[in-house]
Symmetry: C2
Subunit: 189 residues, 2 copies
DNA sequence: ATTATCTATAGATCTATAGATAATGC
DNA sequence: ATTATCTATAGATCTATAGATAATGC
């Protein structure tokens, strides 16, 4: 059934959005193509009309979700200061919503075990966030922060969020988030 | 074939060691019981003589590898200072050897998606490391550091190591590790 | 006699492909 | 006529179980 060109594009979009969410929520390995396609309102047979393989889908889903997060971070830093952005990142809401949250916190450990091309996609699409963090740190410190410095700062946020997510006691988990905010503020000096 | 009691114990031990290493290297979902049993020199049928389920094995493997790492950290902090321990943690060697490395960096994100009982095991067996980090930070700062403060400090190490592991360019990856060391030293002030 | 191990297999899943069907453009 | 979708299935894996085999203790 030959549809309008927008139809194909819109379907591909739905698949990508489902994948970007499900991968962050459950992990890459834990989510099958059938689940992704069902969430996009399709059956699994159609998958290969839109993507070459699960790994190809993963790369596009990483690109997509990292770009979304980059844009949100840039906007947050334009609107407010670094401290406000840190508080939003280390919030109970972000902890409890991995499906729409930070791709790096959700998937960095798993992506590290994937082929180099996938890690390339991951690293190059995380870079804009590192750029704006480096800029923000440089301004605040009055001294140039490198991309690696920005990565360490982001590492603090990522690691702290993961520990908060893994901690079963809610109060302890929230205390970890708060300690993370204090640590980030200290590190930004 | 009824063996000596030590035989059963030794076999169980080999399975646990294989699991603790393979889970950290490849992730929990990515490693099948057949692979773990083969690495322990057995076939998959024997697995259920020793463990109730894969989840039960995971809990024991987490306990095992976290306890190993706790002991190593305590010893490192008895022998040297916090800065030396941080340099060892954020070293290229640790980055390149996840199978024997930090359980938290390797598995926290995945464990966060497992049942509460598994997260309990994870959290309670990570606690001794938090205790010694809190003690070390308290001494260095001349001011009491809470467990949550220790978690944020550990979060910096965990997140930075993960970013270094996910970064395909070796030089960039190593620069991230070095920036992580500087950040940890600053945070320990 | 006991029991750790093996082979074999059940039943569910996974990624990927084949071929039929049907909705639209020309 | 084209092609996005469907159903069906291949072939590989996964966790878990059943029943036979064999190595040791009593």
């Amino acid at each position: 059934m030959r549809y309008a060109p927008e139809h194909n594009e819109a379907t591909r979009e739905r698949i990508l959005e489902a994948a970007a969410r499900l991968f962050r929520e459950h992990g890459i390995e834990a989510v099958g193509l059938a689940k992704i396609m069902a969430d996009a309102g399709l059956t699994v047979g159609t998958f290969y009309t839109h993507f070459k393989s699960k790994e190809a889908l993963l790369r596009e889903a990483l690109l997509r979700s990292l770009q979304d997060r980059n844009a949100a971070l840039e906007q947050a830093l334009r609107a407010g200061d670094l401290e406000t952005a840190v508080r939003a990142y280390l919030s109970p809401e972000h902890r409890d919503e991995p499906g729409t949250g930070c791709t790096i916190a959700a998937l960095a450990a798993e992506v590290a075990r994937h082929p180099r091309a996938t890690r390339q996609t991951f690293a190059s699409n995380a870079k804009p966030s590192l750029d704006v963090i480096a800029e923000s740190l440089s301004k605040r410190r009055g001294k140039k922060a490198s991309l690696a410095d920005a990565a360490a700062f982001l590492g603090l946020l990522v690691g702290t969020l993961q520990l908060a997510r893994a901690t079963p006691d809610r109060a302890e988990s929230t205390a970890i988030l708060e300690a993370g905010v204090r640590a980030a503020i200290q590190l930004a000096e």
